[in-house]
Structure formats: C-alpha cells, structure tokens
C-alpha cells in the first residue's frame, strides 16, 4: 500500500513532491506545559507533595528504596485493574464489577487447582483459569451492554452482585488455600531486585499504553468514547468494540486475581472488595474524562501511585485507616480540581 491509496481531487502533485518537513513543535516552556508533562503536572505535584510529607514525617523509613518498592507493590494490583478501567472509561463506559470478578476468578482458579489434584504442573492451569474467568465475565458484561443495550452502570452493577454471590456459593464461604510451591516461588521471584507483582504491573501498564496510543484498538476506543454516533457513521464496529472493552477490563481483573493469589496464596470470595471504586478513583484522578473520549494510561498510573503513597505515608505514621479514607476523598477532589486547572486551557471554554 502506498500513498496512492488516497484519492485527491487536485492534480496529484502533492504525493510526488518531496515530503515537506513537518513543522516541529518548538521546545519551549509553553510547549512543555501543553505536552504530556503539562497534562500530568497536577499529578506530579500531588505525588511530589506526598513524598515531601512522607519524608518529613517518617524520614528514612519512608525514603528508603525498599519502602518505595513497598508502595509500588501496594499499587500494583489496583494498578492492573485501573489500566483496564481506563479503556472502559475512555470508551464512554464504566465497569463496577471488576472487584468482584477478581474475587470470583480467584475462587474458581483455586478450586480448579485443588480439583486437578496437587500436581505441581497445575499452577499454569490455575493461572489460565483465573484469566479465562475474568475474560468471560468481561465478555458477558460487554455483550449485555453492547448488544442488549443495557446501561453500563446497571449491567456491571448486576455483575458486581452476581459474581460476588457466585464466588460465595462456589467457595462455600471458605478460603481456598493453594500450596503449589512452583506458583508461590514464581510469584515471589525477584528480577533485578524487583518482585513479580511490580513487573506484572509494569508490563500491563506499558502494554496498555501501547494499546491505547499506538494501535487501531486504542484509536477506536477514543473515537467511540469521543462521539459514538460519529464513530458509527464512519463505519466503525461500535458495538463489537464496546464488548471488547469490557472483556479487556475483565481480563485485567483476571490478572489481578492471579496477583492476589500470589500474594496471599489463597482464593476467597472477598478478594477485590471495593477495588472497583479505587480503580475508578485512580483513573479519574489521573485525568481521564468520565464522559469518555479523553484519558491517558500515564495519568492512571500516577493516580494509582498517589493513593498507594498516601496509604504508605499514613501507615508509616501509624494513623488509622479511617483518617486515610477521609484524606483519600480530599485528594480526589483536589487532584481533579488541579487537573481541570492545567488541562482546561487547551480544551473547550465552556
């Protein structure tokens, strides 16, 4: 395929001429502000402020490298779910079910591992089961929303309740402990001094960034979230793609289930409770518009890190989780306000 793919009306000189150099954006302070740094400036400032508070109140306990890794590890599971959530929200939807789908996936996966006997090779089966359960639940969400035309909020709320219930029935309200040494070993493996949970988060975030910014999948997501009708009339498969978005969110819930199995070595129906709210908060604090059409993976990663850092600072200072919750709420409002200040200039005025 070459440029002659496109048909122009004017004499076809445009294609044959030497390509004109693209006017490069000048590297000025203003240019930087409107770029990716500027878009995330509020988030960077918020994170920096939290670090300063942490360093002052907890000193070395906070600033040492091990503690930083603790923060990222804390962020990793919610982080993976938030990447999936970012796609759903940019695409103009919402997924309330990710937390309970994660719980369900953890229960089904451990049950399947126990059923298949304590054969050491079954840990891969367990991992794939968790991913498959997440994916299936996501597809079901997507199908009901895209083809059944059920509002996303209601469809995923139903899944939230149903998946949790199903997990309770299957688990019989007991905790399924997995003792597969290979799996535990794998999940606790250190690579370059960084453990598996963090690597998984990094890989999912990078893959999500590429998927959103460099692929047709990402372009479709932005188009559908930005103007569903225009996307449809341009010939995009809006409904199919909408279904894929929820499937993707379900898949990340499955990955999160594997991660929590690695951390706790147990599957239980209560895994992932309220994770959906943490994920939505991280995505929105990260600058993704709740109405869809605009958002970034980078912002979401910052959003997740901000909440994890906050939790860590509070823990280091032995403050209660209730105080934490209040601070979280305040952070959400402040971050969103800052975000609007910095991002608002470039976009519409009303």
């Amino acid at each position: 395929m070459s440029e002659s793919q496109s048909q122009t009306i004017a004499p076809a000189e445009a294609g044959s001429e030497a390509p004109q150099p693209q006017p490069r954006r000048r590297f000025t302070a203003k240019g930087l502000l409107s770029g990716s740094v500027g878009r995330n400036l509020g988030l960077i400032l918020a994170l920096a402020a939290l670090f300063v508070v942490g360093a002052i109140t907890a000193g070395d306990r906070f600033t040492n490298i091990d503690n930083i890794l603790v923060i990222i590890r804390l962020a990793s599971i919610i982080g993976v779910i938030s990447v999936g959530m970012t796609f759903v929200i940019i695409g103009g939807g919402i997924d309330l079910s990710v937390g309970s789908v994660m719980g369900l996936a953890s229960v089904v996966a451990t049950l399947s591992a126990i059923q298949a006997a304590a054969d050491n090779s079954t840990w891969l089966v367990m991992v794939f089961t968790a991913l498959a359960v997440g994916l299936a639940a996501g597809f079901l969400n997507g199908f009901v929303i895209a083809y059944g035309k059920v509002v996303a909020f209601m469809a995923t709320l139903a899944m939230l309740v149903a998946a949790r219930g199903l997990a309770e029935i299957l688990a019989n309200r007991t905790t399924q402990v997995v003792r597969i040494p290979e799996f535990i070993e794998f999940m606790n493996m250190d690579l370059l001094g960084i453990d598996m949970l963090i690597w998984i988060f990094v890989i999912v975030a990078v893959a999500g960034w590429i998927l959103l910014n460099r692929t047709t999948f990402g372009r479709r997501t932005v188009a559908i979230g930005g103007n569903r009708e225009a996307a449809r009339l341009a010939g995009l498969a809006v409904r199919r793609h909408t279904m894929y978005l929820y499937a993707l969110a379900g898949l990340t819930a499955g990955i999160a289930a594997v991660m929590i199995l690695g951390r706790t070595t147990a599957g239980t129906s209560t895994h992932g409770t309220l994770y959906e709210l943490d994920a939505i908060a991280a995505v929105v604090v990260g600058g993704t518009l709740l109405v869809g059409g605009r958002g970034t993976i980078t912002g979401t990663v910052f959003g997740v890190l901000i909440f994890a850092t906050l939790t860590n600072v509070f823990t280091q200072n032995n403050l209660s989780t209730s105080v934490q919750a209040v601070a979280k709420g305040v952070i959400i409002v402040i971050a969103v306000l800052l975000q609007q200040r910095f991002a608002g200039q470039g976009s519409k005025s009303h």
Partner: protein, 494 residues
Amino acid sequence: MTGISKSFSGVQALKNVDLEIAAGEVHCILGQNGAGKSTLIKTLAGAHLPDAGTIEWNGEHVSLHSPQDAIELGIATMYQELDVVDGLTIAENIFLGHELAVGGFLRTGEANTRTRRLLERLGHGDLSPSREVGSLSAANKQIVSMARALSHDTRLIIMDEPSAVLDGEEVKNLFRVVRELTSAGIAVVYITHRLEEIREIGDRITVLKDGRSTANGLDVSETPTSELIRRMTGREVENVFPPATPVPDDAPLALEVEGLSLDGVFHDVGFTVRAGEVVGLAGLVGSGRSEILETIYGARRATSGTVRANGRSLRRGSVRDAVRAGVGLSPEERKSQGLLLDEPIFRNVTLSSFAKFARGGFVDERRERRIATEQIDALELRPADPDRPARTLSGGNQQKILLARWLVNRTSVLLLDEPTRGVDVGARAEIYALIRELAANGDAVVVVSSEIEEVLGLADTVLVVGDGRILTTVKSDQIDEHQVLDLVMKGTAA
C-alpha cells in the same frame, strides 16, 4: 463597539473591529466562516472579554465580564446552537436562571401566564407553556429561545443564524417578529449567510473578513450584492454553481435503490445513480429526505427493499457493509454525528480508514498525517494544520473534513446531507465546485438540501420528495424552483 481585538491562544480572531448599532434597526453582520462573526457577538454578549477596545452602551462605557452583565444591560443573545434544555417545559426554559419564585417555591402559574403572553407576542399563542421543549421542532425551539430573550427588558437582541434551521414559511414568521421588535425600538443584530435575507430584513450591514471589518454600517438598499461579496471574500464570486459535466448514458450504475421502505417514514423509494452523476433530493424538512439517505447507508434498518452499491447488495442496517462497498455519508448534524471535536483534524480525516493505514494493528500516524495533509491541500482546508482540533474550525472547513474522510477511503458513492448548512457564501461555492469535481472524477453523489436552489443548481437529476415518497424524478434543467415548491406543497405525484 470600537477597536475590538481578541485573540485565542495566539490566533488573532478580531483585529480592531468597529460596530455601531442604532436603536430599532436590523443590523446584519456578514462574513465567511472564521471571519470572526461569532467572536464579535460573543464579545458583545459578554461571553468573551476583548483584549483591546471599548464598548459603549447608550453613551456610557461598559465592560461586560459575563453574559449576566450583558443581560442586565438589556442585551440578549440567541445562539446558533439552540441553547434550550430539552427536559424542561417552555416556561421553565424561558425563566431559566431567573425563576419566578417566592421563598424558594416556584410560581409556576405566573411563569406560565407570562410565557403565554410572550408566545402570543411572537405569534405562537398555540404553544402551551407547560409543553416539554424536547418535543418541539427546531423552529419552535427557536421561538422559545426568542421568548427567553424577550423575557428580560431587552433593548438589543443578537440572532446568530436564526434561519439556518427554518423552512421558508417559518423564516417569514421570523421576519414578521423581527419587524415587530424593531418597530418597538429594539435593535436586532442579525447574522446570516443568506444574502437574500439581508435584502429582505436588514437596514445596515457590517462586513467582516479575516477578523477585520471591511465595511461598517453600509446601507442595505444602496449596496449591490456583488459589492458585498467582494468585501466578504476579497474576490468576485460570479457563477456559484459550476457547470455540470454531462453523464454518458452508458456510465455504470453506482447506486441502485429499489422499493426501499422504512415503516412510518417513507415507502417504496427507488432510484439509480450513475457514476459521475449528481442526484439531488428536494423536499421540506420532515419529508423523509434525510431518513432516506440514512437508510441507504444502513444507519437505519430498512423495513423492506434493496440497495446495491457498485453492483453489490448491501446488508440492511449495516453501516460497515455500506462503507466497505464504497459508500460514504456526510451526516446532517456535522458536530454531533460527524466529528470528534476534540481530536485533531487528521484523525477525523482518517476516522474511516485508519485501520487500512495501520500495520499489524499498529496505527501509522505519520502516514495518516501525511495523507490528511494532502487532502487539506487539495480541498484548501483552513487552517492547514493537521493537528488542530476539529472544534476550532468553521462550518465550511468541518464539512471539508468529512469530504476528505471519504476521499481518503476511496469512496465512490457519496451521500451528502445538507453539505452547506452553516457554511458561508464563499465556502459554499468551493464545496459546490468540489462536489462537481468529484462527479467529474466518476463518483456518484446524492445531495439532500433544504435549499431548493442548491439542489437544482448542483444536481443533474432531481428527485422531489414529499410525504415519504418520491413525487417525481426529473432532469434539473427541466424544472424550476416554483414547480418544485408546487409539487412539495401539494404532496401528490405530478
């Protein structure tokens, strides 16, 4: 207003513009899209603060920091995008923001009474104040918008292209209302693209070009049309409609529509379009014109009938199938149905084709940008910056984005719904020329327009639509505007 200047993030929208409006006159503002008309009126309405210049009101300096300031002075604005809330009643809309209330309790009865009085004044006493606005036609929504403007003690009403959504009869009513207002001493600033309307209603004209005023307060009756066009475009526009290239009789059939019906909207529509032919659908708003296009395109699922494009039968209700067969639609509502307003021009241009330019699922933005730039040059799209968000473009240039989208996709059957709505005279001529050039290159084009003149001037063949049926099919040179209107009004086959 004297010496008004305004720039947005480095782009100078207005340079030293003067505007003087007398009480009781209809002052028309004329200019191409992007000339600065909207910015000027928004400045006057208090929505923008000018960078330089002063505004005097009845001899006193004023500065308008918010729309509220302007309203308090007696300046009301009817924006182009009707700013009414669909879910509220007519009365609630009219008193939105200054509700009649006692201690927080709404005085619904009083609001309804006053609303009825306002509506009667506007010649629409038949509308019930408690009716929900969402159920009204565009014309009636405009009446609500006007009633709202009058609910304050208004001395000046700004009307931004009020006739764009109206039919002939409704425009007449609008003019009657405008005349009543001016005879009561209220000044009207009237913005339009239609020169003939200025002739009919205007007293004086201010012409804007590229953010400067090229004429201030010209007397309408003494200024010839050619003079206005020259001041507006900086060049002469003589023949608006370019000559048609004759379509050979053996040209292949590009689009065949047979017995197409959509329950409750239109029945048994059938016609063919040859490659290189322009077919126009003429008819009133609500006659089913747009629905016919949308059904051909698969955006609505036909109840019965078949559509073939380039010899291939299209699946009912599948836009994707139509696009794959080489059909493209430029929808009636550009902003809400056609564009991703916050996305850059190039991504809007490649919205239907980015997957083709992608390699293994990875988009190739450099290539997309280059191809979009070729189209920008070919269609003379302004500003010629592929990274500019579509929102910032004028109506005519947004229309060009949609044309470019289908050109890039190698579309051979173009369905254009109101391609020149909200597009000014100069850019209209360009779009007409583009459409004719596309036809000359062998594309089949179907045009829907509320302006009969446009359909007749542009099309080779005219289909007159009324009452959900095709009333007649005729060569465009064998019918004139009156005959079309006659047919449409009678609503029966000739």
